[in-house]
Amino acid sequence: MRRIIIFIIMSFIFTVFMFIYKDSIVVFPNQVSDYIKSNFIIDTGARNAVTSIYLNYRVYDTFFETLTLLVSIIGVIHFSKHEGEL
């Protein structure tokens, strides 16, 4: 019974959301994208635009992503309590 009520509420929210979403017009600010698309070969020497973004333009992303992976591994080792040696 609880699940059916939640399902009905979810369907209602989804219908309202789609009703609002179908008329909305999103204007994307394309300045950054246009700059990267026309200049990435000269600026970074990469021929793959995705590599040029995550290693040159937005290198902080890579820093903190690798830090997140390191912290998650520390968490995996720390959270598993078991008998015997760690």
């Binding site: 609880r2 699940r3 939640i6 399902f7 979810m10 929210i13 989804f14 959301f17 789609m18 979403y21 179908k22 999103v26 994307f28 950054v32 994208s33 246009d34 990267i36 698309k37 026309s38 990435f40 070969i41 021929r47 793959n48 635009a49 995705v50 973004i53 995550y54 937005r58 992303d61 890579t62 992503e65 997140t68 992976l69 912290v71 998650s72 591994i73 968490g75 995996v76 959270f79 598993s80 309590k81 078991h82």
Partner: protein, 117 residues
């Protein structure tokens, strides 16, 4: 209105939200978090995309290129999702060995009983 990637991602997001609220199994909660994260990734990839764009590799015309910025952001999001799933499953296994149940409500009741004693 056409059925494109954004519509599919919104449907997936609500499926994940239903699983998060309506289910009381811990493993199903982790799976629902994964579904919601996949929906967000699909939304970012398929937004600002029109038919006939080329992948952003090589020196082709910049007007015909797909937007490379959300793709670079989503590489980060995928790796973070893997680490999130790994940490939450490890926490679940330790919790299961301590309380012996996969139900949120039963685990909560046992914890309250434990702190009362």
């Amino acid at each position: 209105m056409s059925f494109n990637g954004e519509t599919a991602s919104i449907i997936l997001f609500f499926i994940g939200l239903f699983g998060l609220i309506g289910r009381r199994n811990i493993v199903k909660t982790v799976i629902s978090l994964g579904i919601m994260e996949t929906a967000v990734i699909l939304f970012f990839i398929s937004t600002n995309f029109t038919e006939g764009r080329l992948p952003p590799i090589g020196d082709i015309n910049p007007d015909k290129m797909a937007d490379p910025l959300p793709q670079a952001l989503m590489i980060t999001a995928i790796v973070i999702g893997v680490s999130l799933t790994a940490v939450s499953l490890t926490m679940f296994i330790t919790l299961y060995h301590k309380y012996g149940s996969t139900n949120w409500a039963k685990v909560n009741r046992k914890r309250i009983d434990e702190t009362d004693d």
